[in-house]
Every structure is written in structure tokens, then in C-alpha cells.
Amino acid sequence: MARGGGGEGHRARYLPGDPRPPEGGPTSRILAPLRAEGARAVAVAVASTVVVLGVLGWSITRSANWPAVRDAFFNGLEFRETFPEIARRFLRNVAYFMVAEPFILAFALLLAVMRSLPGPVFFPIRAMAIVYTDFFRGVPTVLVVYILGFGVPALGLAGVPRDPGFWGVVALVLSYSAYVAEVYRAGIESVHPSQVAAARSLGLGRWPTLRYVVIPQAVRRVVPPLLNDFVALQKDTALVAFVVAAPEAFKMAQIQQAARFNFTPLLAAALMFLVITVPLTRTVDWLVARERRRREAGGGL
């Protein structure tokens, strides 16, 4: 009885025949109003966009300093000459990401589980997880990259890798695991206690309950915020540039910029990051919108 409140939430969620909100239809918040209002709205939007961009472009290109800015940042020749090499170097950034991400996902899940263990016996485990996440969320990632990337190889310990790039990636793993652990934890806490009760009442132990009932539901719910952290990680792979000798996209752009006295290579590097992060970000938006519609429709997962 005292815990009966939990039942109500599920009732609202599961019962058929509940009034359903109108379907969300279009997923884009930018384009949705247009579709709702029809052809006239589209025409107005197109005209308005052309006018705004036209005025902006005209006033920028007419300004006295535009030729200097264009040559320094948007130089077509510089771009053609440097972009291929930067794009090739960007594969390193992708590699850092691909190596770091699986470790982050696994280590962060371990941290989140450690932090969700109940009871006084597990206090030290919980405390360790909390101290860890507090520390690495509180320290700038670039600082961790510096400390590990320069510090550990300098120790010259036997059996420990000397490659600064290795330690740069380790720093990313340590730092991002703290953030991702918090995302997982939010997911774990969002699984209703009645799910745990149902699993435990069937004689499943604490670990199988976590493994088969809680974590699968938790992870499903936090996919959008996890992808957000993916986007951030892909950008922060540029931080490894501070400690490695072999240049990745950002460092290569810096080198080219210094050699050519032109900033266009940096813009080229920025473009490479956008090629990856913008589609990822749009995917996150789409997933978030879909998740919200499902929740509002009361369809469960």
C-alpha cells in the first residue's frame, strides 16, 4: 500500500484507450510550421531567405575590409592546396574517436553501475565513483591531455607506453567517461523501481536484474544524450594535437597556416569537423523528437 503510488504511473502508460495527443508528423521544428501552412508559407519563406541572405552577403562583400578577410580566411587557392592533406590527417581524429569511444562507453557504464549500488556495504565503491566523476568533470579536458600526454612518457616507466598520442587518447577516455557515466546514471535512475521489484520477485539476483532488466532499458533512453557526447568527443580529439608529434587535422592546419601566413587551412579543418558533427547532431535531434513523440503517445519504449 505504502508503495502503491508506482502503479498509477504504469496504468497511465499501459492502458489502451487513453486520449492520445495528435501525432507529431514532421520531426523538424524549423520546417514543420511551413508544412502546416502550405505552399504560400513556403513561398514567403523562400523569398524572405533570399532577401535576408542577399542583404547580408551584399553588405559583407561591399565592406572595405572584405577583400583582406576573404584572402586570409576564404582563399580558394590556399583551400585547394591544403584541404586534401588536412582531410587525410582528419582520419587520425576519426581514429582517436573510434578507439576512445568503446572504452568510454564501457568504463562509464562501470562507473554508473558502481554509483548505483545500494546499501552501506557498497559505500566505498559509490564514494570512489563519485570522487572520480567529480574530479574529471571538474578539470578541463585539455589539462588532463597535457598532464598524461607529457607527464607519463616523461616518467620513463618500464612497460608503460611512451607514445604521447596513446596517453592523449587515455586522457580523453578518462575525462569523457565521467560525463558519460552521469548520462548512464540518469538512465538507470529513470527505470521505474517496479521493474526491479518484478525481476527480483522472480528470483533474479541483483546482477542479472541489472544486466537484463535495468541496463537495457536505461541505455535505450539515453541514446540521444550519449550521441551528444559523441559529437563533443569528436571535436575534442583535436586536443590530442597538443601532445602528439604526428599532426592530425587541427595541427596540420596550424602548420599550414603558419607556413603560408593564411588562415584558410584552419577553416578547412573546421569544415572537416562539421562534416562529421553536423549529421550526428541532426541525428540526435531526430532521435530526441522521436523519443518525445513516443513518450507522449504513451507507447512505452
Binding site: 502503491g4 496504468r11 492502458l15 518484478a198 533474479l204 537484463y212 532499458q217 512505452g300
Partner: protein
Amino acid sequence: MTADASGGAADGVALRLEGVRKSFGKLEVLKGIDLTVGEHEVICLIGASGSGKSTLLRCINLLEPVDAGRIFVHGEEITAPGVDVNRVRRRIGIVFQSFNLFPHMTVLRNITLAPIKALGLPKAEAEGRALALLERFGLADKKDEYPDRLSGGQQQRVAIVRALAMEPDIMLLDEVTSALDPELVAEVLSVIRELAEGGMTMLIATHEMAFARDIADRICFLDGGVILEEGPPERIFTEPREERTRRFLQRIIEAGRL
């Protein structure tokens, strides 16, 4: 069971409660419950919301630790320190008001999860057992559906099957029809009736008085955390001895539920 020899198993007692007490903070929900349930006996717990029915069932399943008192299953004390709660729970099935099916698993997987992971049954055997139960309760065609594709009545029947797949000695049913639309109640009650006819020992917390009267061997009226009155359904419903029982039943009749 190793403890069966200690008495109780042979005397036909499935479940015995002695002075069970439970508080949540300052609120004492159970104030000393004594109850003996015979094998194959069906007992209905009735009483107002907050009288302690659900808490009592959750205590028997060890989902809530008792503050005082002892609970025996077939003579073995399950409230003793050091008892393996997972082993105890495998013998006691519980079905909740809110179904609590696992939404990310198909019906079949919902049912086979615990037999495979807790009992260690081979997958084929667990599935065979699950399919036989689904067949028996008219749910065989739903085996590959996810819970949110089922009606409330179907979900609750699956939840019952999920508990039965562990082949428990005792079933605890916690207001299993309270979250259902009225037209879906009957299908769930008929499942429970079939279990009773099959000889399942059951402890049923319910607001369905007509059903309780029909199915129960004994009715226990809970009020203020104690069993205020118990007896055969005919007597409880026609000539209750306690004033509070009378008033409770009066309210039920006025609400058109009996």
C-alpha cells in the same frame, strides 16, 4: 528442500505468518499479522486501500524486509538471517497491480528470462514450458509481441504466466485487476479461477468482492494493519461479526461492487 523435515511440510501448511510487523518511517502498516495458509488453500485479503494488503504480500515475497515476526514457507523460516532470498522468491510467485512486464522484451522472453537466468533451465526447456503455459491461457499467438502491443488484460495474463513459469509453490496476487478497464477484468479472473481449480495455493488481495466470495476458501479482512476478522466467505459476507467489517462491506455494496 532441506528444511522440510523440521515440521510444517507434512502437516499441509504452505505458509505461516507469526506476528509480522512492518513500518515505513513512522507509519506502521502491519501491526502483528498472524496467518496460516494450508496447501491448495485460496485466501482472499480484503480491506480498504492502505489497510496493508499489498505490504503484506510484498513482505511474504521478501521484497520488503519485515521489522518483526517470522514467516515460514513449508516449515522453513524465510525471514531468518542468512536465507537466500533469491531461492525463496523462486518458490513464491507474485503478480502486481501494474503488471510490471519488461517492456523491452517479447512476451516469450519475459516469461523465459527468470527460468533461464535464475533456475538455470536450458533455453529450449524454458521456452517449451512458457509455450505450454501460453497455450493453456490462450496467449500462444502473442508470444512474439512486445508488452505495449497487448491489452491490459493480456499483459496481466502474461504477468501471471511469467510467475507460473517458475513453478512456484505459492502465488501472491496483488490487486491484479485494479488497473484494468472493467471489460478486461473477467479474462484475468478466469485465469485465477483456473489456477484455484488446479490446486494452486494462493493469497489474493482484491477489491472484487463477488469474485472473492466465489473463489476463496477463506476471507481475511485487514483493517489498520491487523487481520480484524477471518472466516469462510459466506459467513464474512452475510454475517460479519465486527462492526468495521460490516461498515466496509456496506460501502462496497453502496458502490455497487458486490
